[in-house]
């Protein structure tokens, strides 16, 4: 689980072509700058036709599950095709929650269920206890299973802002956890390993976050 210096790896991974899916939500600038910092070439796009040529796809996102899925709907087929081809797909925050099958958030909003992308079977539920919601701030990570996205980050801190968290059907889908009221998944991945997501924002998590973006770029170059 050791990692080389960022500079050395940046040279090694230079040239990874990453697409960041622009489906109308959030600040894409930080994740783009973060990926560039670790040596990637980034294209922000709303055109699913360019997914196939990319080395990896980032699904960012802030906001609500229903709006997120409404906006991401047009990309569902292209994302499914990418996953089937084995391309790395990285969901961040709401983008991670959308990798699962459903969310309590959309159910609460009424108007019937909203289907997630379902690359990782399971749902998302709301924190329910005495602690403040949203869970906002820096919390530490415990890596629970071996996955290259989590190389070199065990015990480090990451920046979270969220009210819901993932509950995958299979415990094997949990790569790292954090604690807030109880233990919840901070990083999840599918069985094949090419679809994964972080509940926290790597682009806002300092050096630890840049390490994760570096890990992603390394995965994309394999």
């Amino acid at each position: 689980m050791s990692h080389q210096s960022t500079t050395a790896e940046a040279t090694e991974t230079a040239g990874a072509d990453i697409v960041v899916v622009d489906y109308g939500l959030g600040n894409l600038r930080s994740v783009t700058r973060g990926l560039e910092r670790v040596g990637a070439t980034v294209t922000i796009t709303d055109d699913p036709a360019v997914f196939e040529a990319a080395d990896g796809i980032v699904l960012p996102g802030v906001g609500a599950f229903r709006e997120g899925m409404d906006n991401a709907g047009p990309y569902r087929d292209a994302l499914e095709a990418a996953v089937d081809r084995g391309q790395p797909v990285f969901g961040i925050c709401l983008g991670m929650q959308m990798l699962l099958g459903s969310s309590e958030e959309a159910a609460h909003a009424g108007e019937g269920d909203v289907e997630g992308l379902n690359f990782i079977p399971g749902t998302n539920v709301r924190f329910s206890g005495d602690l403040k919601v949203p869970h906002m701030g820096w919390n530490n990570l415990t890596v629970t299973s071996d996955h290259p996205i989590a190389d070199g980050i065990d015990g480090e801190y990451a920046y979270f802002v969220h009210s819901y968290y993932a509950v995958p059907d299979s415990e094997d889908a949990v790569v790292a956890t954090s604690e807030y009221e109880s233990t919840f998944p901070a990083i999840v991945a599918n069985e094949a390993g090419n679809v994964f997501g972080t509940q926290f924002h790597p682009e806002k998590s300092g050096e630890t976050g840049l390490q994760i973006l570096q890990n992603f770029v390394t995965i994309c170059m394999e």
Binding site: N27, V62, K132, P134, M136, G137, N139, V161, K204
Partner: protein, 270 residues
């Protein structure tokens, strides 16, 4: 475990040549030049700051363009959350500030004047990026709603505008509750009475707000050192402590502050 956040704040104005520069004041007055905003942000990022607050105090249209460029320059260098406040009055202002690279916007007077701006901002961009800032002032009369004890006297806290020069008659705690209901994702609580004094945060004020909302609260104004941060986390239950002058004038480093808090049982990111 979720940690308490230590947040340096930089007040940015234009210098005589029209460039963005950081100024630090005492009691919202007597501003003193302290440095280049991008260089300061980089240094704080390296020192382990958990977040930045960047306040545009130019309050001019000319300044605004320069400020957004400076926000972008800071955001490109620092991979930690960035809150930008000052002069944000409309949904369009929120949008362009977020687009420039801010993660959150801090809104003060404009929300007091038109509270629906909170709902509009939260709906369009998410509650997590809408921070409501208040400049509170102690009032020792019977016009308030929520009273606290300050040195044996009963007082309430009034929302002020124009850097504390004008009262609004609105009770800070009542406004905090309303702002939360309208979708504010965080509350940024400044005190006219303790700002720049370095005698400690306004604990009764911060506690009154924290006791009545479930939204995270950033305590501000009056921090003179790590002990004051400790007090506001333990006695008022604030989620984050903001400071300007103690960090800008190198009286304490972020590292020293965090080491002190860690030794005294406060969870911090080390």
């Amino acid at each position: 475990m979720l940690t308490k956040r230590i947040i340096p704040c930089i007040d940015v104005d234009l210098d005589d040549d029209g460039n963005a520069a950081v100024y630090t004041g005492v009691n919202f007055e007597n501003l003193k030049y302290t440095g280049d905003p991008v260089e300061m942000a980089k240094a704080y990022n390296a020192a382990g700051a958990d977040e930045f607050v960047f306040l545009d105090i130019t309050a001019s249209a000319d300044g605004r363009e320069t400020m957004l460029d400076t926000v972008s320059a800071v955001a490109d260098e620092c991979f930690i959350p960035l809150t930008v406040g000052g002069g944000i009055r409309t949904q369009e202002d929120i949008k362009e500030t977020l687009r420039a690279g801010a993660d959150k916007v801090s809104i003060n007077t404009a929300a007091l004047e038109r509270p629906a701006l909170i709902e509009e901002g939260a709906k369009a961009f998410g509650s997590q990026c809408i921070v409501i800032s208040v400049d509170a002032r102690r009032r020792f009369d019977d016009a308030g709603e929520y009273y606290a004890d300050v040195d044996g006297e009963s007082c309430w806290f009034e929302c002020t505008i124009k850097g504390g020069r004008e009262g609004t008659g609105i009770d800070v705690v009542e406004w905090a509750i309303e702002a939360e209901e309208r979708g504010a994702g965080e509350l940024f609580v400044n005190s006219i009475d303790t700002d720049g004094t370095k005698d400690g945060y306004d604990i009764p004020l911060t506690k009154a707000v924290c006791d009545n909302v479930s939204t995270p609260v950033i305590a501000s104004s009056g921090c003179g050192g790590p002990e004051d941060m400790h007090e506001v986390f333990t006695d008022a239950n604030a989620d984050a402590g903001l400071a300007a002058s103690i960090f800008h004038f190198d009286e304490y480093s972020i590292e020293d502050t965090k080491a002190y808090l860690d030794e005294h049982g406060i969870p911090v990111r080390l």
